[in-house]
Every structure is written in C-alpha cells, then in structure tokens.
C-alpha cells in the first residue's frame, strides 16, 4: 500500500511538470511558425534577404519544429536510448536520398538547358560532330 502511494505521488509530480512542457512546446512551435510567415512577408514586400538564405532559414526552422514535435509531443526524448536509436537511425538514409535526388534533378535541368534545340553547342562537341554531317 505504502509503495503504491509513492507511485501515485510521483505520477502527480510528473503530470505537473509535463503539462508545463506541453504548453512551452506549443508556444515554441507557434512562435517559429509566426516568425517564418513574417519572414516570408518581409521577402514579399521588401525583397528582404537573398532567396537562398531565406530558404536555408526555412529548412532549419522546419527541422527545429520537427525536433520539438517528435521529442516532446511524441515523447521520444523521454524514451530509452534503444528506442530512440531504432527509430531515428534508419531515417539517416534521408541524408543521402535528399542529396542524391536533388543533385540529380539539378543536373537534369542543366542538361535540358544546355542540350535544348537551338542552344549553341559547346565548341568541342561542334568540331567532333562536323565530319559526320559532311
């Protein structure tokens, strides 16, 4: 009986602190979102900041928001290391997926631009093609 009692009391204590952390997380997410939208408006109105810098900030802040949702709302920060690792390690594949696919898209675009009909061919290609035409 005594034991159960301390268990409940402990539970109560945890409850109190984590409701606070829930609302703290909510405010963090809200403030970040408002900040992002604010930056987007600054860019629209005044062209504030280079596009690449703005995009970098947006991606970083998205990852920050993702961290808070997974760590606090999904409670992963409070799970044991085994669970954290088994869930997060496979997601590292995304690092390569993103780099590889976006680089591929970019190279595709460059090829389309450079090899589009009507585009002057680079000199080296032009010379090697010449004999074949005549």
């Amino acid at each position: 009986m005594e034991h159960t009692h301390t268990g409940v009391a402990h539970e109560e204590h945890v409850h109190d602190s984590s409701t606070k952390s829930i609302w703290k997380t909510f405010w963090i997410l809200l403030v970040i979102t408002i900040f992002e939208v604010g930056l987007a408006f600054l860019y629209l109105e005044y062209g504030f900041m280079a596009r690449w810098a703005l995009n970098g900030i947006f991606v970083t802040l998205t990852l920050v928001k993702a961290f808070f949702i997974v760590a606090e709302f999904m409670h992963l920060r409070h799970e044991i290391r085994n669970l954290v690792m088994t869930v997060l390690m496979p997601l590292l594949l995304f690092v390569w997926f993103i780099i590889a696919f976006l680089a591929d898209g970019d190279s595709w675009k460059n090829m389309r631009k450079n090899l589009a009909p009507g585009t002057p061919a680079p000199p080296a290609t032009h010379i090697t093609n010449e004999p074949a035409h005549h």
Partner: protein
Amino acid sequence: MDTAVTAKKKWWSGGHSPFNVSYGKLMMWYFLMSDAFTFGALLISYGTIRFMSTSWPDPNEVFHAFPGMGHTNLPLVFVSLMTFILIMSSVTMVLAVHAGHMRDRKAVAKWMSWTILGGIAFLSCQAWEWTHLHHAGAWWGHNPFLNADGTVASTNFTNFFFTITGFHGLHVTSGVVLNIVILANVLKGTYEERGHYEMVEKVGLYWHFVDLVWVFVFTCFYLL
C-alpha cells in the same frame, strides 16, 4: 507495459522489452517510421522535379485566397490558420494522453473531443482550399498557373500539390476516424476497465506524426 528505468539495466538479456515500450507502441513507432519514408519519397520526388524545372509557379501567387475575402491578395494567411489548427489539435492530443496517465476519464474524453474537432476543422479548411483551386482550373493534369518567370508551367506543380496534400489529408481523415473510435472506447469505459489508457497514447503518436508531416508540407509547398 514499460518498467522502471535503472542505470545498469541489461536491456537485451530477455524477460522484458529491450525498448521499454509495449509491443503495440513499438509497432506504431515502426509504422510511423515507414510512413515517414513514404512521405519522404513523395516530397523528395517533388523536390527533384522542382530542381529539374527551369522555372516553377510562385506559391504566393497561387495560394493567396481566404474564405469570404473575395479577391483580396492574402498569401500565406489561410495556410497559416490551417497550421495553427493542426498544432492546436496536437496540443489537445497530448493533453488527452496526459489525462490518460492520470486516469481521468472525463478529461481524456474532453481533450479527445477537441482533437477530433481540430482534425475536422483542418479537413474543412483543406476542402475549401481544394475547391477554390479547382474553381481556378487547377486539378491533377491541369495547371492554370504560370511559372514565376511568366512561361507556361507544366502540370507537375498541381500534380504534386494535390497528390501530397491529398495523401496527407487522407492521413488526417484516418486519424480522425481512429480518434473517434478511441473516444467511443473511452466513453464506454473500456480503458478504465483495462486499467490504462495506452491506446490513447498510440493514436496520439499517429496524430502527432500527421502534424509533423504537415510541418514539412507547409515548408515545401508554401514557404520555399
């Protein structure tokens, strides 16, 4: 159920879950991880196509309407409202999980109801946005919007937009259905009898994941 964590516990010696969670919760985590790859694949293919395009429609030109505001140019406002609704419903979901830890049936029911309401509000917003875009002539295979540089755009933009927000909306819909099922069980007293509200936690994990995906969709489609 999970056991107390002590510093020198041998997690892999058997007799208990090496992950310190129940089977159901662990499987929910693995499902969400696989779902993250599905959404990741969709978003990365969207990024690839966008990177390979010489120009792309400006999201602020496309998404600038707000219900009841006619043709007023309000970029980002409506989608910010949708984001707020989803974050809010995530908060009410954690509060429901919390009430479950406290074994407070009434509070669980109350917060679950708010979460369901938030989910329905989000879906209504999305239905409005889709209808609005559809009236503007946008749909799978139809793209009335010009590229940012004034050239005619391909249908890639609308195809990806409707596929990805649609797939996310489908997740929200099934989340709302799951939440309703769990709420019914809470009201029936199923979990009170069982002695714990772990089902609320599992459905909560799914619900937060839906919110998490929206954070990425919001960035990829509306901000970048």
